[in-house]
Symmetry: C2
Subunit: 577 residues, 2 copies
């Protein structure tokens, strides 16, 4: 088995040097306190979560007498996670949580996810479902449901997908018929439901999209429902079966420890649920959960990519071929530098985005909400894709040993891939980014982002980063011309042409944003460099290297991506296929 490693120094650099989370007075904590939390969390991850990763992958999920059972290792991990208060981290105090800055919470969750992504989906989904109830639920739901989710007795899920309704959620067929007492009878079948059923929880709380009798076609006729696996009595106690049946557990390439279920609602009897949020606003209520899940997909790529990188790093420092350690071979060294730059770039992006949630509260400036909206598809699509690619590179660095199961790196390849698909495929993210977050937004948020980026460029040292600054300047210019090209097409209603470029443009924008986050890190590192020595000096130098490598190996491709969009494109709809 590969060895666990958390890059705590780099996380701290992001927390304190880049994001300055101690600026936030509402948490009442200082740098030392935050470091303490991070250290303790990381120890739990290393000693409890990480060792469960491979055995729970091998064991998978089993149906036993009609009930879904997870790997035995996961029960103690789950218990420890709640008992040690790690599930409560980041929740408000009034529901029993330990509030911390979003960036710290995200960094912690990333460590847990990297160490066993498939398991972390259980608490992750539960948390997201809780947030919907917290923001939109009735008092009953808060008192009798959410309270049991925060302790880990009950778990949550999100139920959107049906066999004929994947990306096209609006095509769903599940119905909700009003019953007496404000309840609804839910009937239908959902597929690909993560954590759909498991013995980690005594009850599963499903957030289910369904159509009420008055609901028209498409997404506008959809409402959201809270549907427990076992009925909940008026006093909050658990009742009889609510006729939610897991009819199948999927066999998948990876995340074997996560139960991906086909769920039947109302097939064996009446399934009751409560509406949450307003009727016909199910999609926007679900998007509270969905946006969190999308950012979390980014973390899944970032976290596993980074751990895969560290395992490769350890391997190439130990393995000797041709008389020297692999890390001393230029081709291998290049690959490791690329992996580190990408891994840290993704981390910088995800933590920056997390911090924007605190900025919203701190400043009340809607600009930051716009930035969150803009960066969500970037985090989701780019980090899931690149996390996968870094995992692939880590496998490659391990050679034949990487392809075998013993080092556990091939599991990263299998486990990361799903994040490019669920919570809206990366193609859907690209369309959301261009059509909604840029065009429909009238370019407001992207203009705000550009201003932030240009401010950082202005601070960068000309001498040290001459080539990078030149390249970045060219990229900024082609960003402008590419965007003009796309909005020109939109103005002429040539949306087919816009749509065929979304994936390319999202990659372009993502690489510009990641380069910008690495640029800011490099700039801060350079400032601090003079007063340091030893390991700290090496670390700061490595931050400057990350930016350079990212520019020369990734950002440089933006120039050709722009060419694809503006110069070389035929209309794909007219091409013979």
């Amino acid at each position: 088995m590969g060895k666990y490693h958390a890059d705590l120094r780099d996380i701290q650099f992001n927390l304190f040097d880049v994001l300055n989370i101690t600026r936030l007075p509402q948490f009442g904590l200082e740098e030392g306190d935050y470091k303490g939390i991070l250290d303790e969390y990381s120890k739990f991850v290393e000693n409890e979560i990480f060792p469960s990763r491979e055995p729970s992958d091998v064991h998978g999920v089993k149906m036993v007498d009609g009930n879904v059972k997870v790997a035995p290792e996961l029960h103690s991990v789950q218990k420890g996670f709640h008992d040690n208060g790690w599930f409560a981290l980041g929740f408000p105090a009034d529901i029993g949580g330990t509030p911390v800055p979003e960036a710290l919470y995200t960094a912690c969750m990333s460590l847990a996810t990297g160490a066993n992504c498939a398991w972390m989906m259980y608490p992750g989904l539960s948390r997201a479902a809780m947030n919907v109830i917290r923001l939109k639920g009735t008092e009953f739901m808060k008192t009798h449901i959410m309270s049991k989710m925060v302790t880990g007795e009950w778990g949550g899920t999100m139920c959107l997908t049906e066999a004929g309704a994947g990306s096209d959620v609006g095509a769903l067929k599940t119905t909700a018929k009003p019953l007496s007492g404000g309840k609804y009878a839910i009937k239908g079948a959902k597929i690909f439901i993560s954590s759909g059923e498991s013995d980690l929880y005594s009850n599963n709380i499903h957030l289910v999209l369904a159509r009420t009798p008055g609901g028209g076609e498409g997404t506008k006729g959809i409402s959201l429902f809270v549907v427990p696996r076992f009925k909940i009595n008026d006093d909050g106690s658990m009742g009889a079966t609510n006729h939610v049946q897991c009819s199948k557990v999927e066999h998948k390439m990876g995340i074997h420890a996560s139960a991906t279920c086909e769920l039947q609602f109302g097939q064996t009897g009446e399934t009751e649920g409560w509406m949450i949020g307003e009727e016909f606003e199910g999609m926007s209520t679900m998007f509270i959960m969905m946006n969190e899940a999308r950012l979390y997909c980014g973390i899944q790529g970032e976290s596993q990519g980074n751990l895969a990188y560290h395992m490769a790093d350890k391997y190439v420092r130990e393995r000797v071929q041709f008389g020297k350690e692999l890390i001393l071979h230029p081709d291998i060294r290049r690959n490791l530098l690329r992996m580190r730059a990408m891994g840290r770039g993704m981390r910088a992006l995800c933590m920056y985005t997390a911090d924007l949630f605190d900025k919203v509260h701190e400043t009340g400036d809607h600009k930051y909400e716009g930035l969150i909206g803009l960066l969500t598809p970037i985090c989701k699509a780019y980090c899931s894709e690149q996390g996968f690619q870094v995992a692939v590179e880590s496998l490659q660095a391990h050679g034949g040993y990487g392809y075998c199961t013993e080092y556990g790196v091939e599991q990263f390849v299998r486990d990361t891939k799903i994040a490019t698909i669920y919570e809206g495929t990366n193609g859907i993210q690209a369309i959301d980014f261009v059509m909604r977050k840029i065009l429909k937004d009238g370019g407001k948020s992207i203009t705000a982002l550009s201003a932030e980026i240009i401010a950082t460029v202005g601070k960068l040292d000309d001498a040290t980063f001459k080539k990078e600054k030149e390249l970045f300047g060219k990229v900024l210019m082609s960003a402008q011309s590419t965007m003009q090209h796309l909005s020109g097409l939109a103005q002429k209603n040539q949306f087919s042409l816009v749509l065929q470029h979304c994936t390319d443009f999202l990659q372009f924008a993502s690489q510009m944003v990641v380069a910008w986050r690495l640029m800011e890190s490099a700039e801060i590192a350079q400032q601090k460099l003079a007063s340091t020595t030893g390991d700290e000096k090496k670390y700061l130098e490595s931050k400057m290297v990350d930016f350079k490598i990212y520019c020369s190996h990734y950002l440089v491709h933006n120039l050709s991506i722009a060419k694809t969009i503006t110069d070389l494109s035929d209309d794909v709809s007219a091409l013979e296929l």
Copy 2:
């Protein structure tokens, strides 16, 4: 399970329109004959091989009472493959083969490989081992060993890797001590031996690299030995155990049906072998097999990538989302066009390279041997990498269904990955390409290749392919400047800098070569277009589309790769890691 599809039209286009294999008089066959062989082979692949793919993946390989057993399905596939004469295809008539042009043989083998790569490795390795015996073996080996391999009674392997000797083959520790009667006692342990043992064969013939008492350190002290699992008596009959023990079968990400074995030689008693080829020339003798295996890695990527593409193509034509088939959504259509261009580009490259073997015999011109040497690392590295990436794209096009096992596309992702690693990692290929095939060759072969490319460019229609021709011109210019840059570094003995660019330069060269093969296809298709209608017209148009898409989505990146090599590179050895 996804549906099998072979693009026979495109294979025929390559065979007859591009490569004109009917020019070769020695086979005495006409276009109709070749088409007949291809059709029959394809039927066998569809009806016998393809159905074994998923069950043999699920079953894997088992150790039963100390013996290695493959999936039951594979026994009938293997029998049918020999009984129908498909294993004999491409071998010379004097050893019981059916000689055909190399391009046709390669096309057939590609179909079989795409349909079940893990199984095809058994006959594939056997064939490669036979070729070594055919070219370098003694009469005894030919009469008593090769004859049993051609019928499929016995199978072959290649045994290079040891625990401490992966890429660095010269570090191996296995010894060969002379015995009486010209035999040697082989002692040592080999790992990652594909087809190392299996019940598909009654005897396994291992080609083992080992060091004789006089063999110095490194690859120069190594010789090659023929080592059977069961002893072979003087009359050719099979004797007692030769003390070759399979001590472990590896658990791997993919190719589960292929037995990857750890083999112990001479641990439980004396293991006897015969030297094959000259003493201390083991590496060059093994390279007969290795070069074949490297080209075959390319076929593994090409073939599985193409089948994965066809499965995605079928899926997106059937799956309806947002009121229309996925293929009508521009983002999906773009992805499919990219996959097809890459898949057909790889096929064109592999078949062209295969045909060069016939050109060598046909013309006696050493130029073609040089081209084979140059294109071998390109086929191996680029097609294995891109075959994997197309498989990943196919999974993505299938959405959540692709991540689940039922369509069988995730298996392509798992199965293709190994080809980037074995038979020399892609990093090793890149170093071989730059250091040996270009620099050590004094640029002779690359100059010959450039001449061929420039001749094709000259024939391309300016009006239809204006943008592509312009781009290709720029790429040719930057090919020259990049190569000058690299040879300048080599002249200054800055090999560390050369080595850090090998992977990038191999990608650059590969994309230029694939674009060139697609360009020639497009040019031929355009000439034929006027006289055609219906499906044939659509097919020819699609060939022109492939070239355009490949240029706008892949070749365009050569401009940025060149920038990485010449403008943006720091010496990675000096960068903090």
